[in-house]
Symmetry: C2
Subunit: 312 residues, 2 copies
Amino acid sequence: MLILNKQQVLDRFAVERTTLLLKKGFIAFSQQQVQMPSVQHLLFTQANGDCCIKSGYLEGDESFVVKVSSGFYNNPSLGLSSSQGLMMAFSAKTGEPQALLMDEGWLTALRTALAGRIVAELCAPKHITAIGIVGTGLQARLQLVHLKTVINCREVWVWGRNPEALCDYQSFAELEGFRVHITQDASQLAENCQFIVTTTPSREPILRAKNIQPGTHITAVGADAAGKQELETQLVAKADKILVDSLVQCSAFGEISHAFQQQLLQATRISEIGEVLALNKPVRKNDRQITLADLTGLGIQDVQIVKSILLS
Amino acid sequence: MLILNKQQVLDRFAVERTTLLLKKGFIAFSQQQVQMPSVQHLLFTQANGDCCIKSGYLEGDESFVVKVSSGFYNNPSLGLSSSQGLMMAFSAKTGEPQALLMDEGWLTALRTALAGRIVAELCAPKHITAIGIVGTGLQARLQLVHLKTVINCREVWVWGRNPEALCDYQSFAELEGFRVHITQDASQLAENCQFIVTTTPSREPILRAKNIQPGTHITAVGADAAGKQELETQLVAKADKILVDSLVQCSAFGEISHAFQQQLLQATRISEIGEVLALNKPVRKNDRQITLADLTGLGIQDVQIVKSILLS
């Protein structure tokens, strides 16, 4: 079995190849060519942690993939990353383990950020005076890094609860070439930004419907398990167009689950990313529409990013 | 991260310690002290294989466990074991990977066989003139090996489809000290045995109600996913007492699922192994009752066997 440590995994990562494979993966998923069992969730309340286990198999592939990824939110105080995890590839012909990627959660973070980039290509409004990033962690950084390749705007607002973390993010984003505004008031961010990404494990809404400008796009990345929520339910209900990675997952435990379960959403407004990619049609009809993308993370993304690492 | 290969895992295996931990695990599971998400199943029809992914966490433990195990039934023709897989332990405090046990499916096979032993202690009739083993593979062997410690009888009937595999099993069982009868007629086995273990991945019934003697116990190990079935539905319906590892799993995709879904079973006849162990009461009321145990395999068994390996 091939065992790669984090550095070896990152050395093999190639952004364009991975993005292309991820797009193919979203399409295959929406065309029912992927076996992707329900996500397993474990909760560690005392340690302020959670873990999810995803697996997937794209019919015809040589391998299938199992991924264990967790977030332990007290880890930074121990000098550890809050994201942890690994991915494994197994032969789809014999079941033998083929590769163990000890990526410490990086591949999950990267494929999530690249899903954000794919969504930006599909949904971003033409005129963006500032990007808004809700959260200051790893995903908040990776989203900004990968948005740079598809959005020209170099002005960013960032929201966080912790002033120190905000300052750190500011330094990071300045090094990435952005003019940075930090705030602890999410309404201020919403009022200044037309492309917003939310990346926190929040269990209560951070962004409110009343603060969002017409024409804004929001990518909601944080809510990937029951109980998590970053957007006010009314804000989700207000969106003109909603993209989801998986209708099954997002309606069950994604950002849109609250509005969905309260029957505030018309099914016609919701499309899977894979459907939209296959049709190659614009999501946004005009510059006044509010668009929303709900990313819960799919096993097929893990399949595709592992494939991209092992192909190299 | 500690990485152990198959031999290193087996060197650390201690049967009595593991059995004790498994019993504690079954009890904890039935007392709702275990997080055990729904099993993930993947199916590889072309390769005649399947894979299941289990995870579990016993509240208060230092670690949680994820297990990937598969059966690829064409493997023997490639000189490979049909059982494949590995188990992993992760910190329940930080999410960091702690240990990778490259056991090639052995721990799954062992904890399943030991569940068979635990069931035998609970359900075996007093007088057994012969043990019946349905199937000739690894699990068929391990069951016999571990039954020896709790059942005195040294006469065994074994059923299989392949004459060569039957001969191989005969040699194995003779070395284990058994007088061995081989047969390709399952009714002959049923008519001669009072303690039967079924261990095949069959998708059609092998044992029929009409052939089973009063007072027989049957442990059904093979059916652990939708579509698998080793016992005629009427045979399951006829059982006086049914033990299950998990009522949720067994009623959904275990051996009893067919009879359960056809509403042929009274709930009062069904108990979880963990409930029975906690009560410490005999399952069998008399020597005429037919008892049945349905083992689908629990994540908590993986948790406990990994714990027993890592404790050593």
